[in-house]
Amino acid sequence: MTFSRLEDRRLVTGAGRYVSDWNFPGQLHAAFLRADRAHARIVSINTEAARAMPGVRVVLTAADTAAAGFRSLPCAAPIPGKGGSALLKPERPVLAGDVVRFVGECVACVVAETAIAAQDAVEAIIVEYEDLPVAMTAEAAVAPGAPQLHPGIPGNVAIEFETGDPAAVAAAFEGAAHVVSLDLHNQRVVGSPMEPKGCLARHDASTGDYFVHVCTQGTTGMRAQLVATTGVPDEHVHIVAEDVGGGFGLRFNAYPEYSAIMLAARLAGAPVRWVASRSEVFLSDEHARGVTSRGEVALDAEGHFLAFRFNFLNDMGAYIAPTGPVVAVLSIRACLAGVYRVPAAVANVRLALTNSVPMAAYRGAGRPVISYMIERLVDQAATDLGIDPVELRRRNLIPTAAMPWKTVNGLGYDSGDFPAVLDKALGLSDWNGFSARRAEAGARGMLRGIGIATFIESTGGGASPDEVEARFGDHGEITIHAVSHSHGQSHETAYAELLASVLGLPRERFRLRNGDPGVRLAGNPTGGSRTMHGVGSALRVLADDIIAKGRELAARALEAASADIEFDNGVFRIAGTDRSVSLDALIERHAAGPERVFDTRSSARTGSTFPNGCHVAEVEIDPATGVVSIERYTAVDDAGNLLNPTIVAGQMHGAIVQGAGQVLGEHAIYDLETGQFLTGSFMDYAMPKAVNVHGLTIADHPVPTPTNLLGVKGVGEAGVTGSLPALMNAILAALRPVGVTHFDMPATPARVWGAVGAARAGDGRRFAHA
């Protein structure tokens, strides 16, 4: 059997190594006591009975983490707040000592000889609580009289950002022929990677070194956060990771449990392992989205956009996760005007604290929030003004000739061909044939709708350069080291194919190691769809550096000047002659020597890229049951140059379906009064299923970016950024004819059926959030 990806054989035969696959002699097991209430003062914690239980070795509470010198988990704002204001940072303890602020927050950690003994002891810990009132939604948290979650953060707003020019926007609205506004809610979701989060820590008392085996998207971010929290010096923290079973953004940050496990390993003098149950994943993995928004667009009499004004109120959960503010504001700033030529725009973003699990990055990381807002607003404008939604977009798209484009808030897009992307999507989706399909569906009693989204993304620029290293083994294998961790993105294959094509070697020669504690590199975790332009560029430099070394060695071997040596398809040749030597032969001769001459470390620094696309969705709704079926979905994307189209298609499929999950049913729900989490298992949390999606067509319209060596733009998240608005626009298009005027996600059968019924009774907005 052949596999198209190098990692497939290992992964599908169960040979991958995840956190729970690591085992060390004498290993102990941890379990956590979690808050069973959303907001309460801790009056007392009694661990006596737990400590006395058989097999129990360590019991940790806040007193122990304080004694160990632990600090608050870190957080920061990526840009200053409005008027230069700073982020009001909530103290976030590893183990809650005074107050618990969400159901599932860690209160104590027990380490025992077996996982069952640890769990038994957790149940023997007695915590006395004094309940406090809760604020479960961002709106509730910022309302007057809301309970205050943290000292020093009155009103529960940690920071307010503003980007754009409010005065210019106000002026534009004043002179506008039309103003259209729309309130939207982008509901809270749970990321649900297949591998539950876990951590195994080993402490070497003789050196002071910690080896921390964790699920990670990249060792640098993980290590920095653990260092900040535990106070253990950076050189003593070694992150180890091999396969990681999914991340989507929520394996970026160092969860409080990881610091607790490090301390437990030191105190126990033995390796300590903890792997979350699925219930713990639901309760304590970072959640995402949870944004209430209002958008307004001002138009002139011909339907040209004059200005956008947006207000976002973000539910950040009980604490500020390290990536939370980044996700809340940077994508909105970068993609403020979408793909449109709009002379003025402004966005206001407020981060509110609520009694719920902290919010952080999740596939798309803010782009699905701004794209959803803009593209639904544009459709609303088209509806209100009676202009065809395609025509309205076409009238306002940034023309190709205007590239590079400076956006309203001073940022810019380097390249793009938005009108051509739109045309291609219209053609492939047979947009013009829709009315016949609608009529046919209508004859079967079904409501059919078509929706479009033209969107742009901004990929992660990266906090540091990306370093990569090649190590040449004694048997011809070449091991590549990089920070950006593969947790489903096919890095192993993509890197190998890139190097193989430049160096003229078979791809099977290359191995990838991400979380090898023996190789410390600068670099960025995987996130923001940046790996191919960041790490990919570094690999391109690496290949050139290896060729340069080869050229010197070839010159010596061929007794020629290196300037006369050409390199092509793996062979060095004296130009104009048939005297040659292959890179492979040089590697065989030189790589294994004590100087390891071919071993190379290279780096590159890239900025953001701007992938963009046009997605067209077509849905059918059964009015009797409210079931929404995705009948056709066409995605045309400009992701720049494609290195491996199969991997790109896989990323598109996954992300489109992930968006479909949020559109059709995913919804993390807390009880508004008690703060209990109501959707804590897959029995209540609706993941998308294969039966929900039919007829995906994936196509590309590459406009290579000049901003990196490969001309690539990034593709991991575009599917979500496009599918939320495209699908919801299609659903609205299907529902408008029966009188539904507004509808918020998720389009569950019950909600859609309810909306149809309410609309027929004269209420077209029953299923709007606000």
């Binding site: 219930s279 409210g626 059709l664 049913g665 609706a686 569950t748 059968p749 019950a750």
Partner: protein, 270 residues
């Protein structure tokens, strides 16, 4: 999971004995419901008495015009059995729609009926067909067996051994799967047995129940038109974060209509 003692008895009397002797003992069949509750520490039995080795609880057979199915028969066996497919195709189709292949390969009819999850599929067939539940102590008519949410006529330690279904002239099941769990958000089983129409509804209420208005209407005229205008009273139906009671009330009628539609396209139903 808490600690428990696992026992795999070799005979039904031994199993019955273990279950009566140990108050904290629980029968274990496919484990698809019981094991997750153990893992979540929601239940703490002293003993688990594994039924899967008991020959008396196995098998599918036509006996004197009735379909007899052993309690430990797995969903996949019901779904694929030629006997069931020919004599009671609606039951085979119902079984094929339970959960996913993993669940169908382990879960059993006895476990499902004993558990009486308000959203389980089998109870609708048992009630809709007026089947008889045989236990190690007695026989219980379906109308007496189901007693609301997770409640049945079973006494502590009493074991279902087999379920005996009369063969209907026609029967069909239509299920609206819950978008998250795949259980029945609402499932309607319609059967005509000996000329008598029964309509059993699962998923919509706190337990499986008979929709008597529809039974009467269909008894008078067995056609979709007979029930198309019927309103289902939502008062006692389930309302939760997934759907209001009114939605489930609507589904009762819609699924009943869909069950009738399948009956119109096939003589015996499916």
């Amino acid at each position: 999971m808490y600690e428990f003692t696992y026992i795999k008895p070799g005979s039904l009397p031994e199993a019955s004995d273990l279950l009566t002797r140990h108050e904290g003992a629980k029968p274990l069949s496919g484990g698809m419901t019981l094991i997750p509750t153990l893992k979540q520490r929601l239940s703490q039995p002293s003993h688990l008495v594994d039924l899967t080795g008991l020959a008396a609880l196995k098998g599918i057979a036509l006996v004197e015009g009735r379909l007899e199915i052993g309690a430990a028969t797995r969903h996949v066996e019901v779904a694929t059995s030629t006997v069931v497919r020919e004599s009671l195709p609606a039951l085979a189709a119902l079984a094929a729609g339970i959960g996913d292949p993993q669940v169908r390969n382990r879960g059993t009819m006895g476990g499902s009926v004993a558990n009486n999850d308000p959203a389980a599929d089998y109870p609708s067939a048992v009630l809709g067909l007026a089947a008889t539940v045989h236990t190690d102590r007695r026989s219980i008519a379906a109308d007496d067996f189901f007693q609301g949410m997770f409640a049945t006529a079973l006494e502590p330690g009493e074991l279902i051994t087999r379920i005996s279904f009369p063969l209907p002239e026609r029967a069909a099941y239509a299920k609206f799967p819950h978008p998250a769990s795949g259980y029945a958000m609402t499932g309607v089983f319609i059967a005509v047995t000996g000329g008598v129409v029964r309509v059993a509804v699962t998923g919509a209420g706190p337990g499986v129940f008979r929709w008597t208005d529809a039974e009467a209407a269909l008894q008078a005229s067995f056609s979709p038109a007979a029930i198309a205008g019927l309103e289902v009273d939502a008062t006692d139906l389930n309302a939760d974060i997934h759907a209001p009671a009114a939605y489930r009330a609507n589904l009762v009628r819609v699924m009943a209509l869909r069950a009738l539609e399948t009956l119109q396209t096939s003589s015996k139903g499916q």
